[in-house]
């Protein structure tokens, strides 16, 4: 078995009685793009800061290529970080900022200048080398922060919500560039973010954290299609979640009982479930259909329209069942128009038995 590039073993961080990170276990393969995601206060930044050495772990181990680095001081970890605030040195020029890490590691002036110039060119900043940081745009500063880290040729790059200060358009552009850079360089990127689109568009592995724990780690597709916990399904949004009890399992079909009625579900994914067990049934917004009246499909719930939001050509329709469950349905704009719905109107939501995803509690 190949050794993981970076391993976290039972990693803990407590501040007095408050637990920031609880018993974290994670293996990160070399050359992968890992996105760590979660709501604010979930411990994702604390984890990153422990990796960089800015916070001391309260327990557990951090291994870098099999070597325990818990006691290694920050300045010897060689894990440069792109900061949320960028933390560029305002008293240095662009070139001097990029040279800083090399200077601290005793690289000679001529080589420093050469290597800085190579990276500035690579990131399209060649002509800005002698400018001050305050003379650059947000996107250019972002690139200086990247160049400052990458010029030291690290094996891992830490990124702490680096794009949060950019406007949406620039952020999307930088996402593409980051992914391209990571592929070209083949180094490990550990990227902390609260943005779904950043995590899912760039990462090979997405780690979802909540309350100091890892809820799920997997490929973006895996997490999107098969959320492991109700929290993940809810955090990703765009899904409707029904609290159910397993009633029977027969003929390849699972029957679930909920406050909103009886639902059928594909039994293929239900191994290990026993009658009487509580489960969450998750249905993605794009798998739910809307009809004006009932009687067309297996899983039907009658609802009331409570709102709608337009996302380009798509519409997210918000519904509420009689039992108070919130349902989100994604429709094409033109389908929405043909349905001609108003807030408060009654509709029937339905989905195919094979489209429901079951999370055992």
């Amino acid at each position: 078995m190949s050794q993981a590039h970076i391993s976290l073993k039972n990693l803990r961080k407590t501040y007095g009685p408050a637990v920031a990170v609880e018993n974290l276990n994670l293996d990160i393969e070399e050359g992968k793009f890992i996105a760590i995601m979660g709501p604010s206060g979930c411990g994702k930044s604390t984890m990153l800061r422990m990796l960089a050495g800015l916070e001391e772990a309260s327990g557990g181990d951090i291994l870098h290529q099999g070597r325990r680095i818990n006691d290694l001081p920050i300045w010897e970890r060689e894990m440069p970080m792109v900061w949320q605030s960028l933390a560029l040195f305002p008293f240095l020029t662009v070139r001097e900022n990029v040279e800083f890490g090399l200077r601290m590691n005793g690289v000679g002036a001529a080589e420093r200048k050469h290597r800085a110039q190579v990276w500035l060119k690579k990131l399209g900043l060649g002509e800005y080398a002698d400018r001050g940081i305050d003379q650059l745009s947000g996107g250019q500063r972002q690139r200086v922060a990247l160049a400052r880290c990458l010029v030291t040729e690290p094996s891992v790059l830490l990124l702490d919500e680096p794009l949060s200060a950019l406007d949406a358009h620039l952020s999307v552009q930088m996402q593409g560039e980051l992914k391209r850079l990571q592929r070209e360089l083949g180094i490990t990127f550990i990227y902390v973010t609260h943005s779904h689109s950043e995590a899912f568009s760039m990462a090979d592995t997405v780690v979802i954290m909540n309350k100091g724990r890892i809820e799920q780690a997997g490929s973006p597709e895996d997490i999107y299609l098969r959320p492991a916990t109700p929290f993940v399904a809810e955090f990703l949004g765009g899904s409707s979640i029904f609290g159910c009890t397993v009633r029977t399992r027969k003929n390849g079909e699972l029957v679930l009982e909920s406050a909103d009625g009886t639902f059928k579900c594909d039994a293929a994914q239900s191994s290990g479930l026993t009658p009487g067990q509580n489960v969450s049934l998750v249905v993605r917004a794009d798998q739910i259909s809307i009809t004006p009246a009932a009687g067309w499909a297996d899983n039907e719930v009658s609802c009331r329209v409570i709102g709608e939001e337009f996302v380009g050509a798509l519409v997210n329709l918000r519904l509420e069942t009689g039992a108070g469950t919130q349902i989100t349905v994604q429709l094409q704009q033109r389908d929405m128009q043909s349905l001609d719905l108003e807030t408060g109107a009654g509709v029937t939501a339905s989905w195919h038995p094979e489209d429901g995803h079951i999370i055992a509690e």
Binding site: L54, W75, W83, A87, P90, F91, E96, F100, R103
Partner: protein
Amino acid sequence: MTSLLQARRLSRAAYGAMWSLPLPVWLAGFFLGPMVLLIWLSFWDVKNFLLTPDFQLENWQKILTAGYFWSAYARTAAIAASAAALATLVALPCALAISFFLSPRARMVLLGLFVVPFFTSYLVRIYSWQIYLTENGIVMKLMAAIGIETGSLLNTPLALMIGLVTLTLPLVIVIQSISLLSLDRTLIDAAYNLGCGPRRVLFATVLPAARPGIVLGALFAFIFSFGDFVTATYLGGGKFTTLSILIADTVKSGQQWPRAAVVALMMIATLLLTALASIAYAYRRT
């Protein structure tokens, strides 16, 4: 409707004007006015000890070609620069300790204590230094007790430095501390993160980042020392003729107000240039 809007706009303008008014009044009454008078005065004449309005260049000629003026000028600049450097060096460790090693509470108390010296008159503080430094004074006796024989410390460059640092140190410490406290701590983390060890972080990151405050502190120390009369008179014993002493002497000897005005204008010009150069340096990138 329209008139209501206009009335509101007018009242807002009036409100703004009310708050803005003191600034031009103050500037005109206490800065520009006296300045114009001073410039005008520098062209007057003195006849039989009487000031006479005139427009002649003799005062400027006389002062700018006088060796005693330029030697006083160089001496004053050297003393002020030394005092500024000394105050900056003495203040820096204090400001670093206040900003990085003290609890917020201790920091508040200490910064408060640096204001206390301003409660007593500077003149009183300098007089008490006179008692310490004089022939057979406390300092001399203490030195003798540990086997170091000194003469009177009064009227020495050391006494001058003690007096000027007494004047400027609290202010320099406060300015440096504010600058260090407002420093973005992430910059220090970023420096560590890029391989900068704790021994280098001071010179590679903290001091460059705090440079505006450090330069500003030194500038204030220079300005106060450059124009100081009290220390030069009471701790220097008039032995070191500074520009302030020169002004006093010029006025006393023969009512030469116009020539004193020339000296004063030269001082103002020097301080203005020093301030501009310092500020340019403070915000320059290396």
